[in-house]
C-alpha cells in the first residue's frame, strides 16, 4: 500500500514528461518529429532504379546515413508504381517511395496514397522558391503538396554532326519549317525506295516522340485557364498535327512504319540514332549517357528543341518532368522519412551527386548553379533549357496519364490517316478526357 502511491506518482510524472517531449515541436500535433539522435530507426526506401542507377542512389542514401547515424536505410530497387500502389493498399508501404511516374501524382495526392507534406514544409521552413516553377507544378495537385521533386528530365534536339556536314547544314534548326527542310535534305533512300537514313522521324509514339514533349514547342495547351481540356480550342494542337502530317506525307506512311518497326529498341545499343540511321531526334538529357557509352563513334551535338513558326521568342525551353519522392500512406516512420526527403530533394550535395551519377537534371536552382555539377559538352545545353522560362510540365490530373493515352491514341489514328476532320476529332478527345476525369469524381 505504501509503495503504490509513489509508484503511481512516478508513472504519472513519467507519462507527463513523455507527452511533453513529443508535443514540444509545436505546430500541429499530427506532425511526426524527427527521431532523436539516440533513437535508432530503420526506414525502407523503394525506387524503380536497378543495377548501376540503384548504386548511385544508394551512395546518396549513404551520405544521409553519415549525417544521421541513428537512421539506417534499407533500399529496395525495381519497385515500380504498381508495387508502390499495391503496398499502400495492402498496408505494407515503405517509408519513402521514389516514383518515376509523376503523372500519377494527382491520384496519389487525391487519394492520400502519398501523404501531405505541407505541414512539414512549413514547420521546417523549406524554401520552395528554390525549385523552378515548372517543377513545382508537377509535384503538387490542387494546392496539396504530397511529394517533392527528385531530379528531372528535359528535352532537346540531338543531331548527327557528320550527317549535317555531309548535307551542308551548318546550324541546328530553330523552327519547325527549318526542321522539315533539314530533315528532307538529310534523308537518304535505299535503291528499293525504303528509308536508309531518316532526317527526322515524325511518328508520334516512336522513341521519345511523345505528345508531352512536342506540345510545348507548338504552344499547344493541355488545359485552359479553367482546367478544362483544350485540345480543340488551343491553336497549337492544330498546328502540331498539321505539321506532323506534312512531315509524314514527305516520307510516306508505309515507308515510315517499315522503318520504325525495324529500328532498334529505344535504349539498346542499336537505337537508330546511335547507328546513324536517324539524323535528328528529340530526346531527353539522359540520352547523352547512352550515346557516349553505347555509340562513341557517333559525332553528335545537342541544342534546344525547335519551336513552331511564329513562336521564335519562346525558343529555348522544353517539357520538363521527373521523379517524385514522397511518404506513402501507412509509413511507419514518418518523421525520419521526411528528414530523408528533405535532404535528398533540397540539399545541394546529394542532388548534384545524383545528377552526375544518373545524368538527370537536379531540381533546385542552387544545385543547377553548383560548380560540382558535371553537365558539360553535350549535356550543357540541357541546364539552360531546364531553367528557361518557357519550360513547362504536364498538368497534374486525378486520373494520371489517361488523358495522355487518349491524346496519343488520337495521334496514332491521325498519322495513319484514320481521321478526316481534325477539328471534330480534337473535340472528341476533349470530351473523352473530360468524361474520364469525371469518373474519378
Amino acid at each position: 500500500m505504501k509503495r503504490i502511491i509513489p509508484a503511481i506518482a512516478v508513472t504519472a510524472l513519467a507519462a507527463l514528461a513523455l507527452s511533453a517531449c513529443s508535443g514540444s515541436n509545436g505546430a500541429t500535433s499530427s506532425l511526426s518529429p524527427a527521431p532523436g539522435d539516440d533513437e535508432k530507426v530503420t526506414i525502407t526506401v523503394w525506387s524503380g532504379f536497378a543495377d548501376k542507377e540503384l548504386a548511385v542512389v544508394d551512395e546518396a542514401l549513404a551520405g544521409f546515413h553519415k549525417l544521421h547515424p541513428n537512421i539506417t536505410i534499407k533500399s529496395e530497387g525495381s519497385q515500380d508504381d504498381d508495387k508502390i500502389a499495391q503496398a499502400v493498399r495492402g498496408g505494407t508501404a515503405p517509408d519513402v517511395a521514389i516514383s518515376s511516374n509523376a503523372n500519377a501524382l494527382g491520384q496519389y495526392c487525391k487519394t492520400g496514397a502519398f501523404q501531405d507534406l505541407g505541414g512539414y514544409i512549413k514547420r521546417d521552413d523549406v524554401n520552395l522558391s528554390n525549385i523552378p516553377q515548372a517543377v513545382r507544378d508537377y509535384t503538387e495537385y490542387k494546392g496539396v503538396r504530397c511529394s517533392m521533386p527528385l531530379l528531372a528530365d528535359d528535352y532537346g534536339l540531338y543531331y548527327n554532326k557528320a550527317l549535317f556536314e555531309k548535307a551542308g547544314i551548318t546550324a541546328p534548326p530553330k523552327t519547325m519549317s527549318e526542321l522539315q527542310a533539314d530533315a528532307e535534305k538529310l534523308t537518304e533512300l535505299n535503291p528499293d525506295g525504303s528509308i536508309k537514313v531518316a532526317g527526322f522521324v515524325p511518328t508520334i509514339g516512336f522513341y521519345n516522340n511523345r505528345l508531352d514533349v512536342w506540345a510545348p514547342q507548338f504552344g499547344a495547351q493541355w488545359q485552359n485557364g479553367k482546367g478544362e481540356s483544350s485540345l480543340a480550342t488551343s491553336k497549337g494542337w492544330t498546328d502540331l498535327f498539321t505539321w506532323q502530317k506534312k512531315m509524314t506525307d514527305f516520307y510516306g506512311q508505309d515507308k515510315l512504319t517499315a522503318f520504325t518497326s525495324a529500328a532498334g529498341q529505344k535504349y539498346s545499343a542499336d537505337n537508330a540514332f546511335q547507328t546513324g540511321q536517324i539524323a535528328m531526334m528529340f530526346d531527353g538529357e539522359f540520352r547523352t549517357g547512352f550515346v557516349d557509352e553505347q555509340a562513341p563513334n557517333i559525332s553528335y551535338a545537342t541544342a534546344p528543341l525547335p519551336v513552331a513558326d511564329g513562336r521564335e521568342s519562346s525558343y529555348g525551353g522544353s517539357d520538363v518532368g521527373g521523379n517524385i519522392i514522397g511518404i506513402p500512406k501507412g509509413a511507419k516512420h514518418v518523421g525520419a522519412a521526411w528528414e530523408l526527403i528533405k535532404y535528398l530533394s533540397t540539399d545541394t550535395k546529394p542532388l548534384v551527386q545524383l545528377a552526375n551519377g544518373l545524368k538527370n537534371v537536379p531540381t533546385t536552382l542552387d544545385a543547377l548553379k553548383s560548380p560540382d555539377l558535371k553537365f558539360t559538352g553535350t549535356l550543357a545545353p540541357f541546364l539552360d533549357i531546364f531553367s528557361n522560362k518557357n519550360s513547362s510540365s504536364l498538368p497534374t490530373t486525378s486520373n494520371g496519364a489517361a488523358f495522355l493515352k487518349t491524346a496519343t491514341d488520337f495521334a496514332v489514328k491521325w498519322q495513319t490517316g484514320g481521321v478526316s476532320d481534325l477539328k471534330a476529332g480534337l473535340k472528341d478527345v476533349d470530351t473523352q478526357i473530360t468524361n474520364d476525369a469525371a469518373l474519378q469524381q
Binding site: F49, S78, K83, A87, R89, G90, G91, Q265, K266, S268
Partner: protein, 273 residues
C-alpha cells in the same frame, strides 16, 4: 499403293507439324547461346556458344529464389487440391443426394468464372486479413476445392462402375473406406492427370502472383521474374531467352516423368491398336 501414299502423306504432315512445334523452341535455345550483340542481329546461329549466359541469368536476377517460390506455390496448391477435390468429386459422382446435379452446375459456374471478375473483392478481402504480398491468397482457396479439378475428377469417377461401390458398401465399408480403398486405386490415372494439370496451371500462373505478390519481390514466382527480366532500359534478348529456357526446363522434366501416368491412363482404357 494407296496405303503407301497415305503413309507418306500422313508422315509428311506429322513432320511438318513437328517442325512447327519445335522450331520456336530451337530458336529460343540458339538465341540463348548468343552474345548480347549478336542476339540483336538477323543471325540465326550463334557464332560462339555462350553457355555462361545461363549462369548470368542467375546473377542478374534471383531466379533460384523465384524457382523456390514457384515450386512452393505449385506443390502446396496441388496437394491442397487433391485433399479437398477428390472427396468432393466422389460426393458428386458416387453419392446420391438431392441437389447433386445443381451443385455440379455450380462447379461448372466456378470453373468458367474468369479470375478478373472477382479480383477486386478478393484482393480487398486478403488485404484486410493482411495476406497480400504472399502466395497464400492463391494457395488457401484450394483447400476448399478447385473447380476445374473437381470437374475433371468427377467425370473420371462417374465412369467407374457403380457395382464396385455397391459391393464395397454391402461389405460394410464406410464411404470414406470406399473412397480410399476402392475408388482411389482405380482412379489413379485420373487423379494423376488432375494433379498434373493443377501443377502446370499454377506453375504458369501470371495474373495471380502479379495481383498478390507484385509488391513483394521476395515472394515472386518464375512467371513474374521472367516478365520483369528486362533490365530497366531494354530487353537483353540472349539473356531473356536463356531465362525462358531455364523456366521451361522443370516442366519439361516433369512431363517426361508424368508421361507414364498419361500413357497408363490411356492404356487402361482397354483395347485400342
Amino acid at each position: 499403293m494407296r496405303s503407301a501414299l497415305s503413309w507418306i502423306g500422313v508422315h509428311a504432315v506429322a513432320i511438318a507439324m513437328a517442325i512447327g512445334f519445335i522450331a520456336p523452341i530451337v530458336f529460343v535455345v540458339l538465341t540463348a547461346l548468343m552474345s548480347d550483340q549478336q542476339a540483336l542481329t538477323k543471325d540465326l546461329w550463334p557464332h560462339e556458344l555462350h553457355w555462361e549466359n545461363f549462369a548470368e541469368v542467375f546473377q542478374k536476377s534471383p531466379m533460384l529464389g523465384y524457382f523456390g517460390q514457384s515450386l512452393f506455390y505449385s506443390l502446396t496448391a496441388t496437394a491442397a487440391m487433391l485433399l479437398s477435390s477428390v472427396p468432393i468429386a466422389y460426393g458428386l459422382a458416387k453419392l446420391k443426394w438431392k441437389g447433386r446435379t445443381w451443385t455440379f452446375y455450380l462447379v461448372i459456374v466456378a470453373m468458367m468464372l474468369p479470375p478478373q471478375v472477382i479480383a477486386v473483392p478478393m484482393y480487398v478481402m486478403w488485404a484486410k486479413i493482411g495476406l497480400t504480398g504472399t502466395l497464400w491468397p492463391l494457395i488457401l482457396p484450394n483447400f476448399f476445392g478447385d473447380a476445374f479439378s473437381i470437374f475433371l475428377l468427377r467425370q473420371f469417377l462417374v465412369a467407374i462402375p457403380q457395382s464396385y461401390v455397391d459391393s464395397a458398401r454391402l461389405d460394410g465399408a464406410s464411404e470414406l473406406g470406399v473412397l480410399l480403398r476402392v475408388i482411389v486405386p482405380m482412379a489413379k490415372p485420373g487423379i494423376a492427370a488432375a494433379a498434373l494439370f493443377m501443377f502446370l496451371r499454377t506453375w504458369n500462373d501470371y495474373f495471380g502472383p502479379l495481383l498478390y505478390t507484385g509488391e513483394n519481390r521476395a515472394n515472386w514466382t518464375l512467371s513474374l521474374g521472367l516478365a520483369a527480366f528486362r533490365s530497366t532500359h531494354q530487353v537483353q534478348w540472349n539473356l531473356t531467352m536463356a531465362a525462358t529456357v531455364l523456366v521451361m526446363i522443370p516442366v519439361i522434366v516433369l512431363f517426361f516423368f508424368a508421361q507414364k501416368s498419361f500413357i497408363e491412363g490411356i492404356k487402361l482404357s482397354g483395347v485400342k491398336g
